[in-house]
């Protein structure tokens, strides 16, 4: 270790690997993962979200939840930005997934046309 700056750089790199252990105050992508979701391909959607978050180096929590009762709309994905209300999207595909990340997570714009009524 040659300097404090080198250590700080290493710290920032290392912190990324521990991001998942601090979830409060972070954007969350919550994938419905009950049997209905899994049957509709939610596992693949979750993996793609995770890969996308990794690739873009985003500090976003990707997690899953039980059935929300909208089984016919699965895969269902909820986006929760800090201090904003939850927005739920239905029939999420790989294509829609990229839109959700790009528009909603990165730019903070809700995709009104994909949004499900609560």
């Amino acid at each position: 270790m040659k300097s404090l700056a080198e250590l700080t750089e290493l710290k920032e790199q290392a912190e990324k690997k521990l991001r998942v252990r601090k979830s409060s105050g972070k954007p969350q992508i919550i994938v419905g993962m009950d049997d209905c979701g899994i049957d509709a391909g939610a596992r693949e959607i979750l993996k793609k979200f995770l890969a996308e978050v990794n690739q873009r180096d985003l500090d976003v929590i990707v997690t899953q939840t039980e059935c929300s009762g909208q089984c016919d709309q699965e895969p269902v994905v909820t986006v929760q930005l800090p201090e904003e209300s939850k927005v739920t999207y239905g029939n999420v595909t790989a294509e829609k997934l990229e839109q959700i990340i790009e528009e909603h997570i990165v730019n903070g714009n809700i995709l009104e046309d994909l949004k499900l009524d609560q």
Partner: protein, 599 residues
Amino acid sequence: MEQSIYRSHILICGGTGCVSSGCKEVRSSLEDELARHDLEDEIKVLETGCHGFCEKGPLIIVYPESVFYCELKPENMEKLVEEHILKGKIVEEFLYQEPVTNESVRSYKDIDFYKKQERNALANCGHIDPEEIEEYIATGGYQAIGKALTEMTPQEVIDEVKDSGLRGRGGGGFPAGLKWQFASEAEGDKKYVICNADEGDPGAFMDRSLLEGDPHRIIEGMVIAAYAIGADEGYVYVRAEYPLAIKRLRIAIEEAEEYGLLGDNLFGTDFNFDLHIKEGAGAFVCGEETALMASIEGKRGMPRPRPPFPAQKGLWGKPSNINNVETYANVPDVIQDGAETYKQVGTEGSTGTKVFALTGKINNTGLAEVPMGITMREIIYDIGGGINDGKEFKAVQIGGPSGGCLPEDKLDLTIDYDSLLEVGAMMGSGGLVVMDEDTCMVDVSRFFLDFTQSESCGKCTPCRVGTKQMLDILERITTGEGQEGDIELLEELAENIKSTSLCGLGQTAPNPVLSTLRYFRDEYEAHIYEQNCPAGACEELLGAYVIDGEACVGCTACTDACPVDAISGEAKEEHQIDEDACIACGACVEKCPVDAITQ
């Protein structure tokens, strides 16, 4: 693509407590289940040091939800993975249940055991992988030594530690900054820093847990001390009975060397520091600093008179600074956050926190870090969950074999170095052994004397012969052979041993006897003058049982239970116990449905 970021981390407690309750089997079952569901790329499993809540092990925390599962078995993993990890459903049945309300608690932060704690030294224990230096660095690790080396002079480091009020956590409570000042001012071409990890008090395991859970914090504290006093070499003296602590410390030292955090020219300065491990063979006396240094030198672990103190003539005759594990664990925070912030916690004379090992007749055994100035009642009842099996509290033994037993009327005492000394106990290393109504206080002091007597190194007469005499008297009293004058003789011996022994072992060995005589003298008197053990613990003093004829319903349950056929009587008629045949085993008492049998 390299999966650098996982969606979930599963942290398994891998402290010695959880290893013995089966965490290794739980981990391998968990990994099998994750593989079966093809989840290995999404979920990272890692082993941490002690969470402190050993009573409820094996423990798991699942992130990002921070769900705390406890008392897990390998066969539970199938359900845990299928429900929680795959589908996101929290498995209620594996959550911790508050014993009073029976409510399930999701996050460990909401469990009473953790609520009143202030985990600073233990901040990372249970939350990082101790075998992964980058996890320590991610939490801000090694920033303090970087700051000290590049922005502070050695004297500024010493002044900061002095100003923080940090006192030695190993027992004596000597101000750490002052100790560093002495070692810094001592003349010498070579100096050493030493970490005392020879934790020997029965029931104490805080140093072991710190080394197992966050070894880099100890290393960082030692490097800071070395810079402050001008040492370039150090030793961690750790007992060989702590194999996991040694293993993790060894890995940590190798990693620190690899990352240039130990070795030459740290942070681009001309400061060099090498660290070694010395395994001790587990003699209690080697926790005494001069005996410890003799042991590192390869000599028999025996103390020598002080002065000269280690700061003047320490290891191999060179100026040395020796602190306990927990003391070093506090140092990075003092330097990183500053003395003013550090002092915000604790009392004026005792700043910061203290880690206690809770054991004995208490519901929540484990490790608790609390602010100095907390009361004993808060530790035992709010954190410890009170006494086992609904029994009555009788005493708490604090400070190990050098400490004392405190009775119920001292429960509201605020805990700091000085208040404990005033009531005849001491902080010690932080062992707390809780005792209930069934504990005989004479027997407790016999137990501790038996320990110190057998651990006495034999170099000085008061300790070698004196403790043996005291032990003989205590053994006599607990077996019904106590004589008039025994109490006075114990007191006289105790004072002599305290004032004339060579080292701390002998000087404090009589403390358990003196404190029990101070608070529970009536129990000693009952043993000697009435041949009675009020707690019913000393077997040889237990009298025969008698049946209350009016209460007896003649059910014959006791007759069947008695192993020596000492009970006679027809069914539905009054029964009698033959006093001469009765061995006072108490088997009949347990069976009697109407509580008609007493001693």
